[in-house]
């Protein structure tokens, strides 16, 4: 077709040009064919062009015979030129295609690298790497990492934990292949960075390594490799494996660092704990001991009133001790990591009613109002934790405000959250303390009629609320005195609500 067009152009141009110049449109056509369709079509176009040229433009016209010897020469040169042009153009085409594939791969690699750099855990590395790798290499990919003396295999594209101990899930690696990778990974793991990779018939095994040594192994299915049209695929796999190795290595280092940080934090907590134990626990204990001694040794001389007083002080101080120890236990529970506490559906009214009952004694000398909005939604949380938090806030309000003060408990819906507020009309909190009162062992400068606790209550509250996916903050009331503690909890979506007329 293209040759026909070229012939047409030549027909039109014939009167104005020498016969020799008429080959140019044909050559241009051949070149375009080569660029557009590659070598074979352009060679075909060359042959057609030569024949057409001979048929239409060389005398005798409309015959493939050639009368002039000059024209034989001319035709020969034309054929040669056509073939050369075909080859050159086709080569240029190949280069262009390769370059654009390279650019695509480079782009892919760049995005891959960025994604890996953003991953914060091994899970995330694998979750982002595997689907992208499969898409990029257009082949099934496995990542094999050493795992506690054995291997963990992560199948591409599936969010599936490798079966513990099972070794080769989904027939991804056969036993032999598994053993091959395992022995390679375990052989001299620190200095083996330049050890050559093992070879397996079904999988192309690409080592993942960093300057520190072997990190793992990437396996690409060989059967899919043949159809892969990526230039220089070995180098590409190497680069991908290196990127992965670096990401995994980075995660391992971060994990180590987190562990170290946690250990340091724990040490700090232990120190604070010891300080607290020696002071805060011994003070009430000393009172208990003194009162008990009084009861035992001065039984004959003390009046009944005095004895009663001693017994009561034992009771009060022992209760305080119990509270301290309870707080310490709760804190330990929090420190050892509280699981996600948003499993169950709870009614705020349950937690509030129990917290009000429990704080009734300490709030006996205060005025208390309760205002729960009608039809508050159920919350996602743990009622034990929520009750604990509400109780602590009420108890704090009682502790830090004078007799007769007003303590208000409110709960209302605010967009997609429920807010629970405990307000008092006491002296408020020093602005500098508003955030620090939630720190462990920090005691605000609010001095109340009773001695304050060990500075764990609000830290525990914050931990508990966080476990339920919420926040807790403190502020002072604008315009008038008093503190406000606000718990904000997200409203969960609850399907399947019962029909109350049933």
């Amino acid at each position: 077709m293209a040759v026909g067009v070229a012939a047409g152009v030549c027909w039109v141009l014939q009167p104005y040009l020498l016969v020799g110049s008429l080959v140019l449109p044909f050559l241009i056509t051949i070149m375009l064919t080569a660029i557009a369709y590659g070598l074979l079509p352009s060679l075909l176009a060359s042959v057609l062009s030569v024949l057409t040229f001979d048929f239409f433009f060389l005398p005798p016209l409309y015959s493939l015979n050639i009368s002039e010897p000059d024209d034989v020469m001319r035709l020969g040169v034309f054929a040669l030129a056509a073939v050369i042009v075909s080859n050159l153009a086709a080569y240029a085409r190949r280069q262009a295609v390769t370059a654009s594939l390279r650019a695509e791969v480079a782009e892919d690699l760049y995005r891959f690298g960025r994604q890996l750099a953003g991953a914060a855990s091994l899970r995330e590395v694998l979750d982002s790497a595997l689907p992208r790798l499969t898409a990029m290499l257009r082949a099934p990919v496995l990542i094999v990492l050493p795992d506690d003396g054995s291997l963990a295999i992560y199948p591409a594209g599936q969010r599936q934990e490798p079966a513990a101990g099972a070794g080769f899930p989904g027939a991804a690696l056969t036993g032999t292949e598994f053993a091959l990778v395992k022995s390679w990974l375990q052989k001299d793991p620190t200095t083996g960075a330049d050890a050559s990779a093992p070879v397996s018939p079904r999988w192309l095994l690409v080592p993942m390594r960093t300057g520190q040594g072997k990190v793992g192994m990437m396996a690409v299915a060989r059967e899919a490799l043949d159809s892969l049209q990526v230039p220089n695929s070995e180098a590409l796999f190497g680069t991908v494996a290196d990127l992965l190795a670096q990401a995994v290595n980075r995660i391992n280092l971060v994990d180590d660092l987190t562990l170290a940080n946690r250990a340091a934090e724990r040490e700090e907590l232990h120190a604070a704990l010891l300080a607290s134990l020696s002071h805060d626990l011994r003070t009430p204990l000393a009172s208990v001991m003194a009162a008990a001694e009084g009861l035992v040794y001065h039984r004959d001389t003390d009046t009944e009133d005095v004895q009663d007083g001693l017994a009561r002080s034992i009771q009060t101080e022992a209760r305080r001790l119990d509270r301290y120890i309870g707080n310490l236990l709760d804190m330990t529970r929090l420190e050892s990591g509280l699981a996600d506490a948003t499993e169950s559906r709870i009614d705020l009214a349950d937690a509030v009613s129990v917290a009000l009952d429990r704080s009734a004694t300490s709030l006996a000398t205060h005025r208390v109002t309760v205002d729960l909005e009608d039809d508050l939604p159920l919350l996602a949380g743990d009622e034990v934790l929520l009750e604990h938090v509400v109780f602590n806030l009420l108890d704090n309000a009682a502790k830090y405000t004078p007799r007769g003060a007003l303590v208000e408990l409110r709960a209302y819906r605010d967009q997609a959250t429920v807010r629970i507020e405990v307000l008092d009309d006491g002296d408020g909190i020093r602005p500098a303390d508003l955030e620090r009162i939630f720190d462990k062992f920090y005691r605000g400068k609010r001095q109340g009629p009773q001695s304050p606790g060990i500075g764990l209550g609000l830290a525990i509250c914050r931990g508990y609320v966080a476990a339920m996916g919420g926040t807790i903050t403190a502020r002072n009331r604008a315009g008038r005195g008093g503190a406000v503690f606000t718990i904000t909890l997200p409203i969960p979506t609850i399907e399947d609500l019962p029909d109350l007329n049933e």
């Binding site: 609500l497 019962p498 049933e502």
Partner: protein, 232 residues
């Protein structure tokens, strides 16, 4: 205090002598005979030998899990009331003990008044098994179990069938703590949807409580379930 002429025998199983002494003093003053055992094995021996009417059981024993004693007792079809003592923060084992057939629980440290109240409820509950009274009264709440009528402060309260079932279950076990799973099984015949229970309890409170946010009749046992105030 006790209508029976022979004093009621209570077995206290706890390895802390201070707790045993405390319970012995307090319960004896109420006219009960108190036996004590410091280990699971000793407890089983006493149970074999003596005619024990009520068991107070600490879950953390030196030689065996307190839960095992509950299992053994209930396996012999004994209906002896069991009150479990647990330490703070053991919500799980508390619920487990109740599910296995314990009647009630107290968290250490507890006061004598609380213990005596629980003992009375457990005792009365056992007596009530034989002859249920047709009309239940507590405070201003009356539930007529024969005519299925509920009145509060003299006024009849309309309840949906399911709401009545829930209230009736609470009334039948008045004063006793019922775990959420138990209620769900009894009223909904499945223990899946805890939000059903929450919503129904809220609806019941709206209907029978004067201050639903500070309930008087239907009390929350945090982390465990619900309890209907026992008639006094």
């Amino acid at each position: 205090m006790i209508p029976d002429a022979s004093p009621l025998k209570i077995l206290v199983v706890d390895d802390e002598p201070a707790i045993v002494r405390f319970l012995r003093t307090g319960l004896s003053a109420q006219g009960y005979t108190v036996l004590a055992a410091g280990s699971g094995r000793a407890a089983l021996e006493v149970l074999e030998r003596e005619d024990v009417k009520l068991l107070i059981l600490d879950l953390g024993l030196p030689d065996m899990d307190g839960l095992d004693i509950i299992i053994r007792l209930r396996a012999t079809r004994s209906m002896m009331p069991i009150i479990v003592l647990s330490s703070r923060g053991e919500e799980k084992s508390k619920v487990e003990a109740l599910e296995l057939g314990a009647d009630d629980y107290l968290v250490k440290p507890f006061g004598m008044d609380e213990m005596i109240a629980r003992v009375r409820v457990a005792q009365r509950h056992q007596l009530m098994r034989e002859g249920e009274r047709p009309v239940f009264h507590v405070g201003d709440l009356a539930v007529d179990l024969v005519r299925r009528l509920v009145t509060v402060r003299g006024e009849q309260v309309p309840l949906s069938p399911r709401q009545y079932e829930l209230l009736r279950l609470l009334v039948q076990h008045a004063g006793k703590v019922l775990t959420r799973d138990f209620i769900l099984r009894e009223v909904w015949h499945s223990d899946s949807n805890v939000q059903y229970l929450r919503i129904y309890i809220r609806a019941l409170r709206q209907k029978i409580e004067l201050h639903p946010e500070r309930p008087y009749y239907i009390l929350t046992e945090i982390g465990v379930g619900y309890r209907l105030r026992s008639p006094d």
